[in-house]
């Protein structure tokens, strides 16, 4: 177990190092200076010189690379020119909001995906199986931002059930009690989480369905059926418990697509998370902020993958032994 964790961590560090190198190369190849202020903004040359000196841009490339690695390792991700404060402070404000969205999005999409997968496997070949797979593939084929827009149109404009943007009702918040505020917050979560759920549940359902069908062929299932165990008990006790294990690994694979989807979903629902500020940084061409979000998402993905691997090893003794 400890060896597994150590090797995964080493691999993860290697991956993050390669990503850091990539962002350095991107910054270096990009036209213009990352700390050149945009035209129209008068800036004293001393200020420009200051930032160029702080981030080693006045030194040779090899020294710049070492300097970049050192500052990233110490958590200094540069200075945001659009928000006029260090990128690290911005991320501390915004990343928890994205993590919250990820948590609920993951929970919802796994709940729906596993339920659909079980349903499809049990009703294999029927109209329910066919229809469920068709509908989930339909949502899977949708661009995330368009799905978000259509949900906003349906459930915020036409049927004003859910709020369209933000994380809470700013006008009502000061006078609300804490539980009213919590309810309001949950109502704001519904549309973004639904978008993420519909986007990713098809992959999970497909995987779960295949795992169920594989488990149904195992010998002890045949034995249980021969002994006369009712079909629903076989599905619950024998098949599902074995078919749930491989789905854990899927958590690590789903994370990149959820994090990617969150960028545009956060933008459309004005959810103040990392994706939202990344999309905002596009317009202001904030180099430091955009490359930092590449770094931070990759770190989150690596951590998610390691967590999934470890969970899988805990859940399945066969993996632990290997």
């Amino acid at each position: 177990m400890r060896r597994l964790l150590a090797s995964r961590l080493l691999q993860g560090i290697a991956v993050v190092w390669v990503v850091t190198t990539l962002t350095f190369v991107l910054l270096h190849l990009a036209p213009g200076d990352p700390y050149a202020f945009r035209e129209g903004v008068p800036v004293a040359p001393e200020v420009l010189q200051h930032w160029r000196h702080v981030y080693c841009l006045d030194r040779p490339v090899s020294a710049q690379y070492v300097c970049y690695l050192r500052s990233v390792a110490s958590g200094d991700l540069g200075y945001s020119l659009s928000q006029h404060r260090p990128v690290r402070d911005i991320l501390i404000d915004y990343v928890p909001r994205t993590l919250e969205l990820m948590f609920f999005g993951m929970l919802a999409s796994f709940a729906l995906g596993i339920a659909l997968g079980v349903l499809e496997a049990r009703r294999r070949g029927t109209f329910a199986d066919w229809g469920s797979r068709g509908i989930s593939l339909f949502f899977y084929s949708m661009p995330d931002f368009w799905l978000a827009l259509m949900l906003a149109l349906l459930f915020a404009y036409w049927l004003p059930i859910f709020p369209i943007s933000g994380i809470e009702n700013v006008i009502a918040a000061p006078t609300n009690s804490w539980w009213q505020r919590a309810g309001d917050h949950l109502r704001h979560l519904v549309l973004p989480v639904t978008t993420l759920m519909l986007m990713t549940c098809a992959g999970i359902a497909r995987f779960q369905r295949a795992a169920m069908l594989d488990a149904m062929r195992l010998d002890f299932v045949v034995t249980a059926r021969a002994k006369g165990v009712p079909e629903h008990a076989i599905a619950g006790h024998h098949v599902l418990r074995n078919a749930l294990l491989p789905v854990i690994t899927l958590a690590g694979i789903t994370l990149p697509s959820l994090l990617g989807g969150a960028v545009l979903v956060e933008l459309i629902f004005s959810w103040p998370g990392m994706g939202y500020i990344t999309a905002m940084a596009v317009g202001s061409r904030d180099y430091a902020l955009v490359t930092s979000s590449v770094l931070v998402t990759s770190v989150l993905v690596v951590l998610g993958t390691i967590a999934a691997d470890v969970l899988y090893a805990i859940a399945d003794p066969r993996v632990r032994a290997a």
Binding site: A14, F145, A281, V290
Partner: protein, 312 residues
């Protein structure tokens, strides 16, 4: 006149589909290709998907001829955010441009960009995967760690970073950027195939006969990785189309007056509540395209790999 053109295009598409259907149903020759074709034809969803793709590409190819208006011409000040009607089938946008014509031209651009970008990604992914799998050892390990790192970055985040740093991207550089960010999964797939092919007797025999590495790759490896690569590419086009739309939606893809499915949706977003048609129709075109590619890819996978058929 306008309806007549659509009728002519419809007849062309239907006869094309019918010809293809007859080809698939012919069971006289027992070649591998015929077998795969028959297996593909056994999936009704995949057949419909292929027909939809044929329709989409015909519409894209004949867009200038089938469009009812000029896609970038501002028609009249009174025609701003005009609801769908007989003359403007999909309505007009905030500038008073015909959304139907913009969707046709936008689909033409999006489909072309996605196809070219996928071509680039397949070429790079195959070359990379074959090199890594064939070389083995330290080079393989390093090359695969690089792929791992790229796969750890959500593709849209990477695209946003590149798009922001090089801001106004031309359509050519958009194709290149989309192609350069889509090959990672393909290369991993190809490498796995190459590793298994390398162990087969035919490669050992070829080596014993004195064949050089390049000859082995050309004669034995490439023909055998073609099948999984084709399936991955078909599914990959759907992903590239959606990513191109996302970039254009963010304003770093296809530049403004030129319509692409993504930037038509962008034009409609501020007016979503009052002029929903501007954002709705290009999105539907995107969903239909991506769905057709996904279904065709699934059908292709089953057709090319008969061992897998009974699993689904």
């Amino acid at each position: 006149m306008f309806a007549l053109r659509w009728l002519a295009a419809g007849i062309l598409v239907v006869s094309l589909c019918a010809a293809l259907w007859r080809l698939a149903r012919r069971r006289d020759s027992g070649s591998r290709f015929q077998g795969a074709l028959a297996r593909y034809a056994a999936h009704p969803s995949a057949v419909i998907a292929l027909a939809v793709l044929i329709v989409l590409y015909c519409v894209a190819a004949f867009a200038p001829w089938l469009a009812s208006h000029d896609p970038i011409e501002i028609l009249a000040p009174s025609l701003v955010n005009h609801a769908p009607s007989a003359t403007f089938v999909f309505g007009t946008d905030y500038a008073g441009r015909d959304v139907f014509s913009r969707v046709l031209y936008g689909a033409r651009l999006s489909l072309t960009v996605a196809l070219l970008a996928t071509l680039i990604s397949v070429l790079i992914g195959t070359a990379y995967g074959v090199t890594a799998g064939f070389a083995g050892g330290a080079l393989d390990a390093i090359m695969m760690r690089i792929v791992d790192a790229f796969l750890a970055i959500p593709r849209i985040v990477l695209l946003i970073a590149v798009g922001t740093l090089w801001s106004p991207l031309s359509v050519t550089s958009l194709v290149i950027v989309l192609g350069l960010t889509a090959w990672f999964a393909t290369s991993r797939l190809v490498r796995a195939e190459v590793l298994s092919i390398k162990e087969r007797e035919m490669v050992a025999a070829a080596r014993a006969l004195g064949a050089r590495d390049l000859a082995i790759v050309r004669r034995h490896v490439l023909p055998n990785v073609l099948t999984p690569v084709l399936v991955a590419a078909t599914l990959g086009v759907a992903g590239v189309i959606i990513n191109e739309a996302a970039l254009s939606f963010l304003g770093i893809g296809v530049p403004d007056p030129t319509p692409s499915l993504g930037n038509i949706i962008r034009d409609g977003t501020p007016y979503l509540a009052s002029a929903w048609w501007v954002a709705l129709f290009p999105g539907l075109a995107l969903v239909i395209t991506a769905l057709a590619y996904n279904l065709a890819g699934d059908g292709l996978r089953d057709a090319m790999d008969p061992r897998q058929v009974d699993r689904s």
